[in-house]
Symmetry: C2
Subunit: 365 residues, 2 copies
Amino acid sequence: MKTGNRVARKHVGIRDVAAAAGVSVTTVSHVLNDTPHTRTSDDTRNRVKAAAEELGYQPNRLARGLRIQASGMVGLITEEIATTPHAGKIILGAQEEATRQNLMLAIINSSLNPAVEIDPAGVRAFLDRQADGVIYATVYHDEVNPPEEMLGIPAVLIGARDARGEIPSFMPDERAGAASIVDMLVAAGHRRIAFAASSVDVPATRGRLLGYRDGMLAAGLDPDQFVAAAEGEAKGGYEAAARLLDVAVGADERPTALFCYNDRMAMGAYRAIAERGLTIPADMSVVGFDDQDPIAASLFPPLTTVALPHYEMGARAVAELMGIIESRPEHGLLPGHPTLLACPIVHRDSVAAPSPDKHPRASTH
Amino acid sequence: MKTGNRVARKHVGIRDVAAAAGVSVTTVSHVLNDTPHTRTSDDTRNRVKAAAEELGYQPNRLARGLRIQASGMVGLITEEIATTPHAGKIILGAQEEATRQNLMLAIINSSLNPAVEIDPAGVRAFLDRQADGVIYATVYHDEVNPPEEMLGIPAVLIGARDARGEIPSFMPDERAGAASIVDMLVAAGHRRIAFAASSVDVPATRGRLLGYRDGMLAAGLDPDQFVAAAEGEAKGGYEAAARLLDVAVGADERPTALFCYNDRMAMGAYRAIAERGLTIPADMSVVGFDDQDPIAASLFPPLTTVALPHYEMGARAVAELMGIIESRPEHGLLPGHPTLLACPIVHRDSVAAPSPDKHPRASTH
DNA sequence: ACGTTTTGCCAAAACGTCTTGGCACCGAGT
DNA sequence: ACTCGGTGCCAAGACGTTTTGGCAAAACGT
């Protein structure tokens, strides 16, 4: 029963609670923190808790942090938040996990870094501000050389592994995701599955191509017959699809399914397909990669694609970070090798069984 | 000239600097902070600065914050970072301005709130953590009722005005942006300019429609003739465009330009237009709104649209916040009414002059 | 009744910085 | 020689917590 919410002016401190409960600040601290190896009668506990509640006491985190030597804040450094719409999901995951762990998430965006060396500026900024840990999320690398600043503080990598193998990291398992798409297409009855690859040299390019090949090989199909590379944008998708579709005019030679390196290329492919009078998915199944908002859902028909585990990477990263922070002594028992996170297929309407060949097989003959 | 970077173990404090410079901590604090009303010889100043540099001293922000009563951290609360790809730009702007102001930006994402009342949970979390100020960014409101928690702390709103008019806010000037698009279309020679409106009731819906009408009226055109509303997604854009294009079969009755409520609707409109054998921009100019990544640039042809000032809103908000924080006494002299930020047109390739009428006018007759 | 343990609580010392008030010195004016 | 106003510096006390070490009083054993 609160005595009416008179606005608590001039922040109420632990002393006020102590006074209100008729005990010392020591005792208040003890009961409010459940300090172990300390004894308090139930009566006092209740009185203290009641007083704290009544006064709306919240400990000053700065003072507590100073004493405790921990700020309760972790930092997330993301390379060019702007250029990658994905970053949002990483932040979201990290933020939600952070509040779950009772941490505050601060962010700094570093400029997009073409070098393998991580820019130490962001790390330093967090170090200066007593961050308890740091997460560095990269976009275009699969292996980085963290600055030595990162070795003196609990750290986790997202999107790239540590070349030295000392910092744990989380990465999407693009290869397995790509392979699973091919598996799915094969299961749907497709045999002539084309891949519109990306021509830009980033880890994702390699991983997805590898996955495509894995899938094709596993199904006993030729992994080289229907592959065309182009710029990883809508324009490139249009070009690659055009090349892939025009290899042979006959419907019995043409691929029946087209796996695009990413959703933007799929967007271009949609146009190339439409221009040829074909419809998706009846004449041609199409899949993308990234589950990029808002393309995948806005295309017609909505695009079946594979989602990147951005939210999970963010969340897992702070969870891992919290683990490292709490078990300071064992800091290092955590795996230095990256943990791969699954890329799940998200089914929409761009995949169907291949239409039966226009010219009947020998069987009918 | 550093003596080689031996890794600074066991954080170096102000005492270490004092010892190294042969002065008291008081003096170190004074010279490092340029404390006014305090005197130090140039000689000592230099020695202290050198020592600090040498040792790589960085003051402990927690201790400083405790003493100074300021955390150096501002909080950004954004509603559903996930659902709105725009949020990223807001965060980016806020973050960059924050480091410019030597502040740390922490973020919390609140759940999407259909009510006009702001969820106080996020604000409380920042209050508890001694944030120096709070920014609340909403998406689907134009007016909100901030919780009283926000009145006790420097605060700024993004995307919505304060119903009580006590908290400064920054909003996109959607109406002017929409009007400017119409102006541009008119200047390009269009007279039959259609508007594919949104049927969902959010402030943007009203603002953009109002802007369209402003523009049409200003050009002496009928603002009601070519308006169709549908769901603000690609599907809705397809439907609205279809309706708008089919009003009359004759090319001399049909709109020559189509202004879509947003880029997603424009995406649907592209398909409706293509299906009718028309090409953009030769037969039909199309513009969108939002400059939504990656649609606008990925469409073919790339879409002319208007950009929302997300980055600016983020940046201006923390700048304003900083102003409020620093001039605490005058807190309140800042405008309680929202400041509208311009939405600039971004020109791409989906607009051209209308093609000359197929059947010549009476003049030739 | 007298040690001995257990129980319940607390005073005081951190944590690392900023800030208040003042102390010693020096040169100049009388 | 004695005061006086600067100048250059510093000791000590905040800021609001947590934690260490310990002290009374109560409970217990004999």
